[in-house]
C-alpha cells in the first residue's frame, strides 16, 4: 500500500492567547512512500518526525493537507479504521497480559464478519510470534523479558492484524548498542518477509541509512531531502543534510571561490569549475582526504586514532568551522610520528560547496 502525503501540515496552537508561540511541527509535507518499501523519517530531536508519524497513524489530526493510503483518502478516518500497526518507542505492551494475550489483543477487537474464529486467532498470533522469533515465550509477561524481546512482541502485535502500513516510532532507541544492530537487521527482515509498507522514525542517521529503502531528512518541520540513503549521502542538497548524515561527521570550512578554484585560507585546495565566485561553506567528507606530500591542503596534525583497517587523522585548521578535522585514511598512509603538519589532496566527489547565507548546495563540475 503506497502512502501519499499532500501538503500535510500540523500546527500546535500556543498555550495561551497572549503569547504567540504556536509550533509548526509538520510544515507542508509532500511525498509518496512507494508500496512495500521501508522508509526512515530522519531528523534531530524536536524536528516533528514523531508528529508526522502520528499524523499517518491517525492519532493526530492534521491542520491541513491530505493523507492517502493507496487511493483511499484516510485523512478523516480514526486510527482504528486506517489499518495501521504502530510500534511505540517504549513498546506500550500491556504489562498484565502475557505475550500471547498481547499479540491476540488487536484481533480480539475485531467485530462481526472480520472477527476470526478462536483457532484462527491463535494461528495468526503464533504466526506473528514466529515471524519475530518469540514463539517460545508466549506465556511470559512483558516484565519478564529483555528489551529486545519486548520490542519483538511489540512488532508482532503491530503486524498480527496485517496492517496496510506499519509505523515504528524510534523503535531502537531503548536498546543497547549491540541489540540495536541486531534488531535493525531484524526489522529489515520482517519488513521484507511481510512486504508491509513501513515508516520508521529515528534520530540516528546510521540506523536510517543502514536499513531504509528511502530516507526523508527533516529539520524544524520541513522536509529537506528525500532519496535513497546513498544518494542523499552523496548529493546533499544543503549544509544541514550534509552535516546530519555520516559518521564521523563532515568537516566544514569557511571557504572562498575565486575563478573556479576553492580557497581555504590562502591555499587553493580544489578546482571547482562552474561555481560562481563568492564566500562559501566547504564541506569535506572524512573519506575525501588523500594524504599527499605535495597536496594543496595543509592542516596541523593533532593526533592519529587507530581504528584497525583505517586510521582517523585528527587535525586542526584556522578556517575549520568545527573543533577539529577528522580524516579517515587507510592505515598504510598514516602520517609519520612526530609530524607537525600533514598535507592532503581532496577527492572532488567528496567535497560539497554551500552558499554562505542560504546554506544551499552550489554545484560544480567534477572532472
Amino acid at each position: 500500500m503506497k502512502v501519499v502525503l499532500e501538503h500535510l501540515t500540523k500546527i500546535f496552537p500556543s498555550r495561551n492567547k497572549k503569547s504567540n508561540d504556536e509550533v509548526i511541527a509538520v510544515n507542508d509535507f509532500n511525498f509518496e512512500i512507494p508500496d512495500g518499501k521501508l522508509i526512515g523519517l530522519l531528523g534531530p530531536s524536536g524536528c516533528g518526525k514523531s508528529t508526522a508519524l502520528n499524523l499517518i497513524s491517525g492519532l493526530l489530526k492534521p491542520t491541513s493537507g491530505k493523507i492517502y493510503f493507496g487511493d483511499d483518502d484516510v485523512t478523516g478516518l480514526p486510527p482504528e479504521n486506517r489499518g495501521v500497526g504502530l510500534v511505540f518507542q517504549n513498546y506500550a505492551l500491556y504489562p498484565h497480559l502475557t505475550v500471547k494475550q498481547n499479540i491476540l489483543f488487536p484481533l480480539q477487537n475485531l467485530k462481526g464478519a472480520e472477527r476470526p474464529s478462536k483457532e484462527e486467532m491463535e494461528r495468526r498470533a503464533l504466526e506473528a510470534a514466529k515471524l519475530v522469533q518469540i514463539d517460545g515465550l508466549m506465556e511470559r509477561k512483558p516484565g519478564e523479558m529483555s528489551g529486545g524481546q519486548q520490542q519483538r512482541v511489540a512488532i508482532a502485535r503491530a503486524v498480527v492484524k496485517m496492517p496496510r502500513v506499519l509505523l515504528l516510532d524510534e523503535p531502537l532507541s531503548n536498546l543497547d548498542a549491540r541489540l540495536r544492530l541486531q534488531t535493525r537487521e531484524e526489522i529489515r527482515r520482517i519488513q521484507r518477509e511481510t512486504g508491509i509498507t513501513t515508516v520508521f522514525v529515528t534520530h540516528d542517521q546510521e540506523e536510517a541509512m543502514s536499513i531504509s529503502d528511502m530516507i526523508v531528512v527533516m529539520k524544524d518541520g520541513v522536509v529537506n531531502q528525500i532519496g535513497k540513503p546513498q544518494e542523499v549521502y552523496d548529493e546533499p542538497v544543503n549544509l544541514f543534510v550534509s552535516k546530519f548524515l555520516g559518521t564521523p561527521p563532515i568537516n566544514v570550512f569557511e571557504g572562498r571561490v575565486r575563478a573556479g578554484r576553492l580557497f581555504i585560507g590562502d591555499e587553493a585546495v580544489l578546482d571547482v569549475p562552474g561555481a560562481p565566485d563568492g564566500e562559501v561553506w566547504a564541506g569535506i567528507r572524512p573519506e575525501g582526504f588523500i594524504p599527499d606530500e605535495n597536496g594543496p591542503f595543509t592542516c596541523q596534525l593533532r593526533g592519529v586514532e587507530v581504528m584497525g583497517r583505517d586510521v582517523s587523522v585528527v587535525c586542526g585548521h584556522d578556517k575549520c568551522a568545527g573543533e577539529q578535522i577528522r580524516a579517515i585514511i587507510s592505515a598504510e598512509n598514516r602520517p609519520a610520528d612526530g609530524a607537525r603538519a600533514v598535507r592532503f589532496a581532496l577527492k572532488p566527489k567528496k567535497v560539497f560547496l554551500f552558499d554562505r547565507q542560504s546554506e544551499e548546495r552550489i554545484p560544480f563540475e567534477v572532472k
Binding site: S57, G58, L59, P78, P79, E80, N81, V84, G85, L86, F88, N90, A92, Y94, P95, H96, L97, F105, P106, N109, L110, R157, K161
Partner: protein, 297 residues
C-alpha cells in the same frame, strides 16, 4: 555483614521498637489477656478466673448482636458502593477538561470537613421535627411519598442515612486516589489500544482496570477495615446513645462497655474488640487471596 553491623541495626531500630512496643504491642497483648479474665474489676485490678465467659456474654448480648448486624450491613453496602461510585466519578473527572479543577475541589471538600459538622448538616437534611419534616421529606413530598423520620424512624431509614452518610464521607479520599492512579496510566497504552480499534468498554475493562487494580485493591482493603471500625459517623447522626437508637456499631459497643452508661466492663470490651479483630482479619485474608488473581502490579 558482621555481628557488629547487626547490633548497629538493632540500635537504630530501638526507638521505634520501644515506642511501638509500648503503645501498640503491649496494649494489644493486654486486650487479649483482659478478654479472658472473668469478672475483672478495674478499680481493684482483680479477677475471679480465666475462661471464655466474656466471649459468651458478649455473643449473647442483644446489643452486641445488633451492633454486629449494623456493622456488617454498613460494610457490605458502603465499601462496594463507595469504591464503585468513586471509580465512576474519577473516570469522568479524568475525561473532562473544562472545570476539571473545580470539580476535583468540590469532590474533595467532604474530606476536609469535620465529621460532626457534616453529621449536623445531614441531620438538618433528614430529621423530622415538630416544626419541619426536613429537606429530604419536602422533596419526597413532591413524589407523594413520606414523610419518613430518617433519624428516629424505622430501622431501614436510619440504616439508609448512615450508609449514605458514610459513603459521602469516605468517597473524596477514594476519588483522590483513583484520579491520580488514572492519571498515572501511560497515555501510550491508550494510543496503542486506539490504533488497534479497541472499544471504550474494552479499554476500561482490559487496560484501565488492571492498570489501577493495585490502587483499587488498596481502597477496598482499607475501606473494609475502616467500615468495620465505624463509630463516629453513627454518633454524628444519632447521638451518643446508639444502643437506644438501635444503630450501634462494634466499636461503639466497645466504647460503651468501657465508658458509656453501662461502662466499666473492660473484659467485655476486650472480648468484643478481639471478636472485631478476628472478623477484620478473616475478611482481609479473603481479600488478599482474591487479589492474588485480580491485582496486577
Amino acid at each position: 555483614m558482621g555481628k557488629d553491623n547487626n547490633l548497629k541495626g538493632w540500635l537504630y531500630l530501638l526507638p521505634a521498637i520501644l515506642f511501638l512496643g509500648f503503645f501498640m504491642v503491649y496494649p494489644l497483648i493486654d486486650v487479649f489477656v483482659y478478654s479472658f479474665e472473668e469478672g475483672y474489676n478495674s478499680a481493684s485490678q482483680t479477677f475471679f478466673g480465666v475462661g471464655l465467659y466474656n466471649y459468651s456474654y458478649v455473643l449473647h448480648d442483644t446489643y452486641f448482636l445488633q451492633a454486629l448486624k449494623n456493622t456488617f450491613i454498613l460494610v457490605i453496602i458502603t465499601v462496594p458502593l463507595s469504591t464503585g461510585i468513586a471509580l465512576l466519578i474519577s473516570v469522568g473527572l479524568n475525561s473532562i477538561k473544562p472545570l476539571k479543577n473545580l470539580f476535583q475541589t468540590v469532590y474533595f471538600l467532604p474530606y476536609v470537613t469535620n465529621t460532626l459538622a457534616v453529621g449536623l448538616v445531614f441531620m438538618i437534611l433528614f430529621k423530622k421535627t415538630a416544626y419541619t419534616d426536613g429537606l429530604i421529606n419536602l422533596m419526597l413530598a413532591w413524589f407523594k411519598r413520606g414523610p419518613i423520620d430518617f433519624i428516629d424512624g424505622p430501622y431501614w431509614a436510619k440504616m439508609f442515612v448512615l450508609c449514605f452518610y458514610t459513603i459521602w464521607v469516605v468517597m473524596p479520599f477514594k476519588i483522590l486516589i483513583l484520579t491520580s492512579a488514572l492519571a498515572g496510566v501511560n497515555q501510550d497504552y491508550y494510543n496503542a489500544a486506539k490504533v488497534d480499534g479497541t472499544s471504550a468498554f474494552r479499554i476500561f475493562r482490559r487496560i484501565t482496570l488492571p492498570m489501577i487494580s493495585p490502587m483499587i485493591f488498596y481502597l477496598v482493603i482499607t475501606g473494609f477495615i475502616g467500615a468495620f471500625k465505624a463509630y463516629s459517623d453513627a454518633v454524628a447522626l444519632f447521638g451518643t446513645n446508639l444502643n437506644a437508637a438501635g444503630m450501634n456499631t462494634i466499636v461503639g459497643y466497645v466504647y460503651d462497655m468501657l465508658y458509656g452508661d453501662s461502662g466499666g466492663y473492660p473484659s467485655y470490651a476486650s472480648a468484643a474488640a478481639i471478636i472485631l479483630f478476628a472478623v477484620v482479619f478473616t475478611i482481609t485474608l479473603i481479600n488478599l487471596s482474591i487479589s492474588k488473581k485480580n491485582v496486577h502490579y
